[in-house]
Amino acid sequence: MIRYYVWMGARSLRKNPVLSALMIVGIALGIAACMTSLSVFHAMGSDPIPWKSSQLHYVQLDNWDPNGAFTEPNEPPNQVTYRDAVALMEAGKADRQAAMFRVLMPLRPERREVKPFLAVGRATGADFFPMFEPPFRFGGPWSKSEDEQHARIAVLSRETNEKLFGGENSVGKRVRVKDVEYSVVGVLDEWRPRVKFYDVVGSAPFDDPEELYIPYSTAVEINLGTVGSNSCWQTVPAGRDAYLASECVWQQLWVQLGTPARLSEYTTFLNNYVEEQKKLGRFQRPLNNRLYDVNDWLANQKVVSRDVQIQVGLAFAFLGVCLVNTIGLLLAKFMRRSGEIGLRRALGASRLQIFAQHLIEAAVVGLSGGAIGLCLTGLGLWMIRRLDDGLKNVTHLDGPMIASAVALSLLAALLAGLYPTWRACRVPPALHLKTQ
C-alpha cells in the first residue's frame, strides 16, 4: 500500500508541475541554507578530538598586571611565561605535558632543484605527539631524553616531506634550517584537524597544522623567537635572558590528566606552585588559575565566529519561512483535490488511509526537496570556500551532516504536511459528490 501511495505522490507531483516545483524549491532552499550554515558551525564547533578532549587541559596562570586584568573582567592571560612553562614541564606532575610555540624556519633543501622556502614550525616537547595523536607515516616521535639533550632532530609533515624528499621515507636524512642541521626522526601522514585546537591564540584556528616540529629545548637553545602571539605588561630589560625571565606570555602549555582525580591533584599542585611564586614577589593578582579542557578552551576563545552563529539563526528562520510557505501550498493542493478525496472516502477509504496517503505525498515532496537541498548545500559550501578561503578546512560535508540533512528535510516535510493532511482527512465523503 505504501508503495502505491509513494507512486501516487510522485504522480501527483507531476500533475501540477508548477506548484510542486514551488514546494520542492522552497524546501530545497530552506534545507540548503540550514545545512550550509550548520555544516560550518558543526565543523568549527564540534569536538576536534572526542576520545580524549576531556583529558587535555590548557594551563592558564594569572601573572598579569596587578592594576588590570589581561582581559576584563578578570580573565587570566591566554598564554603562560617561558619560566612557568619550563618549571611546570620540569615538575612533570601531569600524565603528559607539552609546552609549545610557533617558529618560522627558512628551510634549505639539499636538492638543488628545490628553492629554499620558509616553513612554519612548532617547537614542542616529546609529549606533543602522544597527546594530540598526529598519525605517523614513517618513523615516530622523538623521546624525552632527546628533549633533554637539545637534540637537533625534526618531525616533518607529509607535505614538507613531499617537497624536500619527494615523499620517500626520509627518516635519518638531514634538513637544513638556517645554519642548523636537523635529522629527521619521523614523518607525519596526512593530518588535518578541522580546528587546529592546540593553537588558537594569535593564529587562525582553521589553518593547516605546522610544516615541521622540533624539540622545544633545541628551539630555545638556538634563540628562536615565537611568531605567534607575545604580550608583555612590564618593560622587558635588554637581552634574550631577560626576555626569557620576563613576565611576557608567549608559551602555550597543555597537560593531559587521565581522570577527574588527577585533575583535582593537578589543580592543587598549580595552586601551590603559584603560592610559592607569590612568595618570590610574582603573581600579584589573586589566585586565578584555569585548566579548561579542549572544548571549554575553544568556547572561551570564541573559535566559532559570531558571524557563523548569526548565519545559523538566520538560516533556521529562513527554513521557517519555507515551511510556512510549503504548508500553504500543500493545503492549496490538497484542498483542490477535495472532490477526489470525497470520492475515495465514499468508496470506502478510511480516514487513516487518506491520512497515510497524503502524509506520504508530503514526505515525497520533502525528500525530493532534501535531495536537491543537499546538492545546493554542496554548492553553498563551495561558494563559502570561494568567498573566504580561511574556512577551507571547515566547509566539507561529512556523513553525519548528510544524514542530518535527510532527517531535517523529512522532518520539515512532515511538519509542513501535518496540517494540510489533517484537513484532507476531514473532507466529508458525500459533500463533494453532490455537485458532480
Binding site: D179, V321, V324, N325, G328, M335, L387
Partner: protein, 403 residues
C-alpha cells in the same frame, strides 16, 4: 472601501491569514536585520586605510647564514629599491594596514599612571615612510634621514620623535594640536614628542577598537634576520615593478629567502574577506527569501481564486465590475500583509534585541522597519496582481453553472 466584507471573509478562513501573515512577518524580521548587518559590513569595508592602495606592495625576506648582516641588508636593499625605475618611494616597515598582524603598545600621558591612556599600533618606518604609505601629513613635519635608528632585542625605550594619527592625537590630547606634545611609550623611560600628525593610517587589525590609532616610529627592526619593505610604484606600474623587485632582492643577497610580494589590494581583499563573505551570504538569503515569499503569495492567491470562482462569478453577475474584483483581491492582500507586518515589526526588534544581547550588536536604526513595510507591501501587491487579474476575468456566467 469594502473592507468589512473582506475582513469577514478572511475571518472565515483564518488559516490563510495566519500562513501568509507569518511568512510576511518572518521575512520582514530577517530582511531588516540582514540588511542592517550588510550595511554595517559595507561601511566597515569602505573605511579608508589611509594608504595609497593602488600602486603599493610589500615584500619580505628572511636571512640565513652566519654572515647575514641585517643592518647592511637594509641599507643595500633600500638604496637598490629607490634606484629602480618605476619606484616612487620605498620604506622599511613591519606591517601594513588590514594585514591583521602587528605590534601594539599602551601609551600614557604621565609616568605614574597605573592604566594606559590608549593603545596604538606601531609602524616602524624611515624618512620615506609617510610618502610610501601615501599618508597625508596634516601638521608638523616628517622624519629626517638622520633620525632613523635601530630597534632590536637589546633596544631600551623609544625614539624622541614620533608621528601619530589624528585620531590618536584626539584621544591623547582632546581638542588640542598634538604636535609638540609629549607622551610615554614606556613609563620607565623619557617621553617621546609628537613631531607630526597624519590624517589617517589604520592599525593592521580592521576589526579592532583601536583601528584608527597608529604611531609611526623612525627605526629599522633587525629581528630574526627579517626585513620587510613597502614599495610605492609610479602610477600604473605596480605589477611590473613588483616582478623586478622580487628578482632584484634575491640577486643582491643570496643568503636569504625572499617571500612573494603582496599588493596592498590583495591585503585588503583578504583582510575583509570574511566581511565580504558575510555580506554576500546575507544578500543571497534576502533575495531567495523575497522570491520564496512572493511565490508563496502567488500560490496561495491562485488557490483562493480557484476556490472562489463561483462566488466571483456571482458577484460579477450581481453587477460588480472587473475593477471591483481586482480591487477586492488587492485590498485583501494589503490587509493580510499589514497584519503580518505588524507582527513582523515585533519580531524584527526581538531579533535585533537578541543580537544586541548575545553579540554586542548595534540597535537597528528606526528607518529599516518602515522601508521594509513599503518593500513587502509592494512585493505582496505585485505577487497578487497575476491571480487577481485572473479572478477579474471570471465571466459572470460562471454563477449559473454548477461548478
Amino acid at each position: 472601501m469594502e473592507i468589512r466584507p473582506i475582513l469577514s471573509a478572511l475571518m472565515r478562513s483564518k488559516i490563510a491569514l495566519i500562513l501568509i501573515g507569518l511568512q510576511i512577518a518572518l521575512t520582514l524580521a530577517i530582511v531588516c536585520n540582514a540588511l542592517f548587518i550588510i550595511h554595517q559590513r559595507i561601511e566597515k569595508m569602505g573605511r579608508p586605510s589611509g594608504m595609497h592602495e593602488a600602486d603599493t606592495f610589500y615584500i619580505s625576506s628572511i636571512g640565513f647564514g652566519k654572515d647575514f648582516d641585517v643592518k647592511r641588508t637594509y641599507a643595500e636593499d633600500l638604496a637598490t629599491l629607490r634606484s629602480l625605475p618605476g619606484v616612487k618611494f620605498a620604506t622599511m616597515t613591519n606591517t601594513v594596514p588590514m594585514s591583521d598582524g602587528g605590534w601594539s603598545e599602551g601609551v600614557q600621558l604621565k609616568p605614574d599612571q597605573t592604566k594606559s591612556t590608549a593603545a596604538t599600533a606601531i609602524y616602524f618606518v624611515d624618512e620615506q615612510g609617510i610618502d610610501t604609505f601615501g599618508a597625508n601629513l596634516i601638521s608638523g613635519r616628517n622624519f629626517r634621514a638622520d633620525e632613523i635608528g635601530f630597534h632590536d632585542r637589546n633596544t631600551q625605550g623609544w625614539p624622541a620623535s614620533l608621528i601619530i594619527t589624528k585620531a590618536l592625537g584626539e584621544k591623547l590630547f582632546p581638542g588640542e594640536d598634538a604636535v609638540g606634545k609629549q607622551f610615554y611609550m614606556d613609563k620607565d623611560r623619557p617621553p617621546s614628542t609628537v613631531i607630526g600628525v597624519v590624517d589617517v593610517l589604520q592599525a593592521p587589525w580592521p576589526g579592532s577598537k583601536i583601528v584608527e590609532y597608529s604611531t609611526l616610529v623612525p627605526e629599522y627592526t633587525p629581528y630574526e634576520a627579517m626585513t620587510r619593505y613597502l614599495v610605492h610604484a609610479e602610477p600604473g606600474r605596480r605589477d611590473e615593478v613588483l616582478k623586478v623587485v622580487e628578482a632584484k632582492l634575491g640577486e643582491i643577497n643570496k643568503s636569504r629567502i625572499v617571500r612573494e610580494a603582496r599588493t596592498i589590494e590583495s591585503v585588503r581583499r583578504e583582510g575583509y574577506q570574511s566581511d565580504r563573505a558575510m555580506a554576500l551570504i546575507l544578500a543571497g538569503v534576502i533575495i531567495s527569501l523575497l522570491a520564496i515569499t512572493a511565490l508563496g503569495i502567488v500560490g496561495m492567491a491562485s488557490f483562493w481564486v480557484t476556490q472562489r470562482t463561483k462566488q466571483i462569478g456571482t458577484r460579477r453577475a450581481l453587477g460588480a465590475t472587473r475593477k471591483d474584483i481586482l480591487r477586492y483581491f488587492l485590498t485583501e492582500n494589503f490587509l493580510i500583509t499589514s497584519l503580518g507586518l505588524l507582527l513582523g515589526a515585533v519580531l524584527t526588534y526581538s531579533f535585533n534585541a537578541w543580537l544586541m544581547a548575545t553579540y554586542e550588536a548595534v540597535r537597528l536604526p528606526w528607518y529599516y522597519v518602515p522601508i521594509g513595510f513599503i518593500v513587502l507591501w509592494l512585493l505582496g501587491q505585485m505577487a497578487v496582481l497575476g491571480p487577481a487579474t485572473r479572478a477579474s476575468r471570471v465571466p459572470p456566467a460562471v454563477a449559473t453553472r454548477s461548478v
